[in-house]
Symmetry: C2
Subunit: 123 residues, 2 copies
């Protein structure tokens, strides 16, 4: 990856909800963008933190006993092993930072689960 990339524009160009795309790599981390609406699934990543940065819209991250509300331009790191469920009542664009090994639906496989190969497709 050695091109100039616009996370905002790349996220806006996605046509499918909950289908993250890799836009950059920094050592063993991937930077991804996704367009989301509705809810994904309760899941956790046993050994990996996951950062959510809201590019557009509003995101609620539900966790057990806690929830955070992220507005445009705000970010939050879900610590490793914390069960969470991202919820966007309206269309929301997010940037994600996570280790390359991270599965986007963590310890569960649901209809929305995407393989890494799907996430690596050109936008």
């Amino acid at each position: 990856m050695s091109n100039v990339v616009s996370p905002h524009q790349t996220a806006a160009s996605l046509t499918e909800y909950w289908s993250p795309r890799v836009i950059a790599e920094v050592d063993d981390a991937y930077i991804k963008v996704a367009k989301i609406q509705g809810t994904l699934a309760w899941h956790s990543h046993e050994n990996e933190d996951e950062l959510f940065l809201v590019l557009k819209g509003h995101l609620r991250i539900e966790m057990e006993g806690r929830a955070v509300e992220l507005h445009e331009g705000e970010m939050f790191v879900v610590p490793k092993s914390v069960r969470h469920n991202p919820v966007a009542e309206q269309e929301c664009h997010v940037m994600l930072i996570e280790r390359k090994s991270t599965l986007h639906t963590g310890d569960v496989v649901v209809e929305k689960t995407r393989t890494l190969a799907e996430q690596l497709r050109p936008v």
Copy 2:
């Protein structure tokens, strides 16, 4: 780190140029913001990639034989071992993603070099 953070607001609140502050950690990566103006120093990170995302303003990253121009909202990864020099003709706010081991002026120590302890101070 389990607070909601605004990279834009945190960068805007900094009072010193070229003094990055850690705003989040994702496994072995730090997310930092910095307010910059002028030029830093030619340097490289032998084993670490470094991502620059422009929050506000305009950044030129000079590399040997190449330069990229980043406008607001755009990002670029300087690959490991590539000598580079960030230049902001006007005040510019950036977000950085890099491994925790990364020294912000890489293989050189200059007047602007900040220790990790300085970068970890609360904003």
